[in-house]
Structure formats: C-alpha cells, structure tokens
C-alpha cells in the first residue's frame, strides 16, 4: 500500500470515528430516572404563575387573544428569524394535535431537555435553553395547570427552515454548547432570597435572556454579555440592555422596574412597545412580590455595555 493510500485509509478511519462520535454526541438525551422522580406531583394553581411568567400564550395562542381565548393553545404564531421561520405548535390538551397524550415525563423532557415525545430534538426557538434552568417542581406545576386547559383540534404548519438548520441532529451539537441547568449568574452565599427568586423567574420560566442577550453566530446566548441587549431577532431595531449599565434601564430604581412591569409605563411615562407589550401584560398577571423579585435580580446582575451596535451617526444637514 502506498503512503498516500495509507494516509487516506487512516484519514477515513479517523473521519469515520469522528463522525460516529459526533453522531453519538448529537443524540437526544432524555432526563435520567432520578430527574424524572424529582418532578413530583404538580399543583395547577401554582402552575398558573409559571404559565404567566413564561408567557406561553404569547406564542401558542392566537395573536391578540384576550380573556379565555388566551388559554386556547392551538399554536400557529410564526417566528421569522435569521435561521428560518419557526411555527409554534399546538400545545393544547388535544390528544392528537396537541400534547394531551403526553405524560409529565414527556412534558419535562421537552421543557428541560428539548426532546419531543417521539425522542426528536426540538428547535431552541422553543426556549428550553432557559427552561432547562427551571426547578423540577415548577415544570410539574405547569404541566398540572396545562392539563386543565381546553382541547383545541388542528395542527400548526411545519417550520420553514433552510439547509443546514433543517437538519435536526445539528440541534444536538447546539445543545452541547448551550444547554445547561446551571444558573447564568452565580451569587455569593447570603444573597437575599428575593434576588434568587428573581433569578428563577428571569433566567428560567421568564426566559428574558432569549431576547435581551446577544446571540453567538450559532444562535446561542452569549453568557459573557448576559442581558446586555441585542439586535431584535425579528424585524428591525434593538432589544434594550437590562443590566445596571448602558442605555437601557441603568437609571431605573427597583420600584421603577417593578412599576413598569405592572403598568407598562417607564419612569418618564413613555409606554411599553414592540414585543415587550405582550410580555408586560403577562408580567402584570404575576404577584407584586414576583415583579419586585425580578427587579431585585436585574439590579444585582453584572453590568455590561450595550450588546448591540451603537446607532449610526446622524446624517449631516
């Protein structure tokens, strides 16, 4: 065998092993039996808080739904991003079109591991990279609440994704980089419970970092610039910096933040706008204690400069 042939065989073998290793690493990983046992039994009343904090209805109910219509989770909302168009699925209790046939374990695998009941990777447009940080009991509570919601027939259309985003195994590699159940911001012992409660809401169910944190080219949250603000994933404009630095809310007090989340008015009496309008309506449904906890956490997070480019200089004239 010539030297070149030997090299080629070695390269192929290595390449094959590499491909096999990648394939293995990219396999969907479900929750361990211990993690499943930790879910316990959920409570629907507590789950409503998680439902509101997560803003599930904002993507899974029809746009502009109010009142009872918010609880009809037929899906269909499109998220038009640079990675393709994602469509929120039906997560009502319909056993065929929704998730009515899912067990708590199935539900928790989707929320915490981004794995569907069929064992496939879910795309992280469903923000499980945040939900992975939720407490097991919160997931069980949410499951119990969603079990009380109406069944709505009808499947939402499929995502429209370009190659290579269309390859689901790629999501497995993405998860190796970005999926973790550990908090983003580590606090010292003795940090007030209020701040920790706020961290649970902001980093977990509330998934604030999904829009307020800049993303790497591979589409994961850049934790070194956590909550620093970012270019909007959809359409034009920016999502503000919500750390204690930069041009977002650095001048706001805790009560300014809590009040904004409750009323939608900034300290200058401007109103909430853009996609935050839906979020603020959900935040207004939480308890005052929860809104104050969110504010306390935001004031305690590490400050970062703005995570989006500075505005273009004004044209002369």
């Amino acid at each position: 065998m010539g030297a070149f042939k030997k090299f080629a065989v070695a390269a192929l073998a290595l390449g094959g092993a590499g491909a096999a290793a990648l394939w293995w690493l990219a396999l969907p990983e479900r929750l361990s039996p211990n993690a499943v046992a930790a879910l316990g039994t959920g409570d629907a009343a507590r789950g409503q808080r998680i439902f509101d904090a997560g803003g599930c209805a904002s993507c899974h109910a029809k746009p502009k739904s109010d009142g009872e219509a918010r609880l009809l989770l037929a899906g269909g909302v499109e998220l038009k991003t640079g990675f393709g168009t994602f469509v929120a699925p039906n997560i009502s209790t319909d056993p065929n079109d929704g998730i009515g046939a899912w067990s708590l374990e199935d539900f928790a695998n989707a929320m915490l591991r981004g794995v569907s009941r069929e064992g496939q990777h879910l795309y992280p447009a469903f923000p499980y990279a945040s939900y992975a940080r939720m407490k097991p009991a919160e997931v069980a509570d949410l499951y119990a609440f969603m079990k009380t919601l109406p069944s709505v027939a009808g499947s939402a259309p499929d995502h429209t994704l370009p190659f290579p985003v269309s390859i689901r195994s790629g999501v497995g590699l993405w998860k190796l980089l970005y999926l973790s159940d550990q908090p983003v911001v580590a606090f010292a012992d003795g940090t007030p419970d209020k701040v920790l409660r706020g961290r649970d809401l902001v980093e977990g169910a509330g998934h604030c970092g999904e829009c307020h944190t800049p993303r790497s080219p591979a589409g994961g949250a850049d934790r070194t610039r956590w909550l620093a603000g970012a270019a909007a994933a959809e359409g034009q404009g920016i999502v503000p910096n919500i750390t204690p630095e930069g041009s977002g809310i650095s001048g706001w007090s805790e009560s300014d933040i809590a009040s904004y989340l409750e009323t939608g008015f900034t300290p200058e009496f401007d109103s909430v706008g853009g996609t935050m309008v839906e979020v603020q309506k959900n935040m207004a449904r939480l308890s005052a204690e929860d809104r104050e906890a969110i504010a306390a956490y935001l004031k305690a997070t590490p400050p970062h400069p703005n995570g989006y480019p500075a505005p273009q200089p004004k044209p002369a004239g």
Binding site: G229, A232, G235, Q236, G237, I238, V239, P240, S247, S259, T263, G264, F265, E268, F269, D270, S271, V272, G273, G274, T275, V277, E278, Q280, N306, Y308, P309, A310, P311, K314, P315, G317
Partner: protein, 145 residues
C-alpha cells in the same frame, strides 16, 4: 451640470431638514402626552394624592393634544428616515395606523367626558389609556439603540 448637482443637493438637504422638523414636532407631541399621563400615573402609584381637578386638567390637556394629531401632516412618506423610532409599518399599513390614532382620540375624548372621580376609577382609566399607547407602540414603533 454643476448647477443641477447643486440643485439636487439643495433639495436633498431641504427634505432632510423638513423631515427633521416633522420628526422633532411629533416627538414633542409624544413628550407632552407623556407629561400629562405622568400626572395621572403618579396618582395611581401613590406618589401624589388623588386630585379630581388635576385629573380633569391633565385629561383635558392630553385630549386637546391628541385630537390635533394629523397623520398625513406628521407622518409624511419618507419620514421613517432619520433620528426617529417610527416603524416603516406606519406607511406599509397606513389604514391600521390611522385606526390606532382614531382609537386613541376616542379613548381620550371619552376620558374627558367622564373623568375619574376616585382613585379606583383613575386606575381603570389610566389602564385603558396605557393599553392604547401600548397596542400602537407594539406595532408601529421600533426601539433603537
């Protein structure tokens, strides 16, 4: 040729300047709205005491300001360029934008017609006004850095 270029440049400058005025003017209207709403929000938040006369004065000033909004004059085509947070959707969905402005006018007019006489009523009234601000800003304003 030189004259032509000069003329074009002059027109370009003039239009930019004209839009700058339009943009500054409409921003001033918004700031004034915020000032009046601020009087009401401070009462709702308990930062100032409920005062029926001050409520009526703020609602009246707000409504006078809002009734004067003229979409054609304040949002001419092309004035999405420049130092503005107006969304291009204002021009893409002109009918939808006009409907939001009309709703705003109706909301402030009915508030003046029946101004809140106590704090609970004021909370509801401010809630309705705030939601009207929000639905329009949700679709027709772009946050910039």
């Amino acid at each position: 040729m030189r004259k032509f270029v000069l003329a074009v440049a002059a027109i370009a400058l003039a239009t930019t300047a004209a839009f700058a005025d339009v943009i500054t003017d409409r921003q001033a209207v918004m700031k004034e709205n915020a000032r009046q709403v601020g009087t009401l929000v401070k009462m709702v938040k308990g930062e100032s005491a409920f005062d029926a006369a001050a409520v009526l004065a703020a609602l009246t000033a707000l409504n006078d300001n809002v009734q004067k909004i003229d979409v054609a004059a304040s949002f001419p085509a092309g004035s999405d360029q420049g130092d503005t947070t107006a969304s291009p959707k204002i021009w893409e969905d002109a009918a939808g934008f006009q409907a939001e402005v009309d709703k705003f006018k109706a909301v402030t007019a009915s508030a003046v017609a029946a101004p809140a006489q106590d704090l609970d009523a004021l909370k509801a009234q401010v809630g309705t006004i705030g939601q009207t601000c929000g639905t329009c800003h949700e679709a027709f304003r772009v946050k910039k850095g």
